[in-house]
Each structure stands twice: as C-alpha cells, then as structure tokens.
Amino acid sequence: MNNEFKEIKIENLTANYFEANVFENFNATLPAKGCVCFFGPSGCGKTTLLQIIAGLKAPLSGIVYAENNKQEFIDNTKSNNMKALTILSKSSEINKKKNFLFNISQIGNRENQNKNLLKIAYVFQEDRLIPWLTALENVSLITPKNSAMIWLEKVGLPGEESKYPSQLSGGMKQRVNIARALAFDAPVILLDEPFKGLDDAAKLQIIEILNELKKDRLLLLVTHDQEDISLLADNTICMPLNTSSNV
C-alpha cells in the first residue's frame, strides 16, 4: 500500500443527481484509518458522495482533498472527466486548481498517470464484473494471479475462480466484487452497500476481513442497515435529505 495521508477533507461540497441537488455545502473531515459510515435515507446523496471521492462524478462546487503527513494535498476538484484524487505539491495550489479540468487523454493510461494519484478501491453497489472473464480473471485484472486466488479464497470463493459471472449467484458475484476491491491494496476503500445479497455467514466473514483492514486504512461505508454500522463503523455521518451541514 502506498501514498499515505493524514486525513481527507470535504469542503463545501454541493452535488446534484438528475438536476436536483442531493446535498449542499457538505463538510466533513475523515480520518486515515478506521471505518466511517454514511447513513441516511435513499436519495440523500450517499452514493453520489462516494462517486465524487472516487473521481467518477464532478461536484457542482466544493472540494475533496487528502492531507498527507508531508503537508501535501490530494485533491479532487471539478474533475468532470473522472479523475481520482490527486496529490498537489503545495497547499496553496488547491485554490488555484479548483476549476482545473483534467486531460482526458490520461484516462486509463497507467504509464502516463500521475504517480501521486491516491489509490481508491470501490465496492460498487452493482458487481460491475466483466461478464466474459472468470472470477479469477476479473480479480487478476488488478493484481497478480496468485494474489487474486488468495483474495477469492479469503472472501469464501475457493473452487469458484474459473466460473464466469453468469455462473455465479448474486451473493457470489458480490464477493468477487469485494475481493477485487480488497486486492487493489488501496489506502481508501469505498463500500457502497457491500453486503447486499450476502447470506449472514458470508457477511460476517467479510466484516471480519474489513475489521482487520480498517486498522491501517480508511473504509467509507454506505449502508441502510443499522447492524452493518454496529459491526463495522467507528464513526457515523448521518446525511439527511438535501444536506447542508458540517460534520
């Protein structure tokens, strides 16, 4: 795991979803370790917030950045072409770069990618597995095969690695989705309803892994389930509809 940071700051973030603002001037400071849960009713912008942090969606205004121990910053400003958090060399650059539009040619090009990009793993609400690749191949896209095998075993899928997503149940696909995120070895893991479709045993198995991982990385959990919060979250941020709050 690389690019350590001290905390992630969300400042005056406003975002919309199909024209309607889901939250306005949202502020929060997130620690570098532990599990923070975003809790709230449907439509309050929990998934939108995760998408902004992952660089998949541009906010209407505001800024998300991570401060590291060397007083450098990781910034996710108005990146309307989906760039993840980027470390800026000086704090003053945050304001300068607020409206910076990233170069689309850098998308998907690991060779040219900014080395200061903060790695963020994302357990999507939908599995987002590539249908024509096996479970193992899906995880192997981001990590060597032997490591992918280990992660698939850890999430309870030994012997299922050569199956295609169409041959797996909903819960199994979700576990491959989780294995892929965990195999990415990122300092921040976004978990959007990660236990959807999992049976109790599988859920507890995954929670055990996540509780271990949160000791040295940040987990951002979005859930509707109080039980998930009690089992995993260290802090909870309640997001009411159309949030205009400081946390």
């Binding site: 998949l56 990618q113 896209l141």
Partner: protein, 262 residues
Amino acid sequence: MAGRSNFVFKSNSLRKNIIGISIFLIWVVIWECISIGVGQELMVPSPVSVIIRLYYLMGTVAFWQITATTVFRITIGFLIGCVLGVGLAVITSVSSLLYAFFKPILNIIKATPVASFIILALIWIRGGQIPAFISFLMVFPIIWANVSKGISQTDRNILEMAKVYHLTRTQIVKKIFVHSVLPYFTAAATISMGLAWKAGIAAEVLSTPQFAIGTSIYDSKIYLETVDLFAWSIVVIAMSVILERLIEFLIKRYLPSRDMEL
C-alpha cells in the same frame, strides 16, 4: 442423463437435416417440372444437365483458376473494408466531430446503387481491381456502422470500474472493448461478406476481367449457354455460403469468445 440429452440433441439435429434436404429436393423437383413445362433448355435447363455441366467444369483447371481469382479479388476488398471500417469506427468514436464529418459520406455510399459505383469504377480504375473496390465499398460502411455502435454500447459501468482500478489502455481495449464490439463485428462481417460477394460478381460481369466468375457468366449470356449460366450461378451461391461460414468459423476460432456471458 447426459447420454440421453446427447441422444435427444443428435436426433433433433438429424431431423432438422432430413427436413432441410427434403425441402431442397422438393425445390429441385419443382425446377425440373418448370424445365419440362417450358420445354426449352435454352430458357430453363433441367437440373440434371446443369449438374452434369457443373461436374464437367469442376474437372477443368480453368474452373478452379477462375473461382480462386474471384475469391481472391473479393476477399481483398472485404479485408480492406474490414480494416478501414474498424479503424474509422475507432477514430469516430473518439471524436464526435469526425463522426459527424464522415457520417454523410458513409450514408451516401450505403444509399447509392452498386451499379453506379461499378460504372464509375470502370472509368476510374483497371478492370481487375474493380470487383475488389466494389466489395470494399459494400463492406466498409457496414463494418464502420456496426463497430461504432458496438463501441458506443460498451457498458459505462464497466468502463468506470476500469477507471477506478487504473486499468491500462491496452487492458481496456483488450479486455473490454474487443469483447463488447465482437458481436457487432461478427454480424457486420457475415452480412457484408454476402453483399461483397454478390456485388463483386456483378462488378466482374460489367468489367469482365480475365479469370473471373462474372466474366464466365457474361460469356455464357453472350453465347446463349444457359446451362453454363446456371452452373456458374450455383458456384456463386455455394461460394457465398462457404465464405460466410468461413468468416464465422475464423471469428470463433481466432477472436475471443463471449459465449459464457449468456
């Protein structure tokens, strides 16, 4: 259980084959009846005399030389159409301005009667190259349109996943785009092969190059050899089916499969 399902599958397939052959034979009988009814070999030759003539032609070196040259010409046009069609689809998928720029031209190519292009080609280029050029014109817009659609229909959610996990461009193209576009490409290649073949033969008829099925068809018309005309037409139909199957086989054999998605 597996043995039983295998048996059911085989008997179903046998049944289908028997029905197919029976229908084919019924049409041959109808053809024979029409030939007898008309009573003139010059107008409608009997299937027996056509098969005998075809058998004779197949015994000559010239037949194979003519067929191979025609296949070669049309295949060259087809391959160039595929390569340029895919290339242009990639370029126009990146830039909407280029898409808007090329779309009218490709629509004009699709809408223009093939005979107009053949006549133009007769003015512009040498006889032997015309069938290749015409088959290229048949293939190019279809491949472009289908591959463009395949690229645009690629699952955005998967592309977002690729972005989050920093997949390289090569991985994105190889593991995502190629597989997404493949069904569109296969359909376009199969359809356009048939069209290229028919238009290519028509171009040969009008441009009469040396060693060409089209030229043989033209000659049989000039010398009123209707039996030859029918025999060569059977060759055209057979080759069209063979080439379409060959394309499907090559795509299945050498390009990645998407079977497990279903």
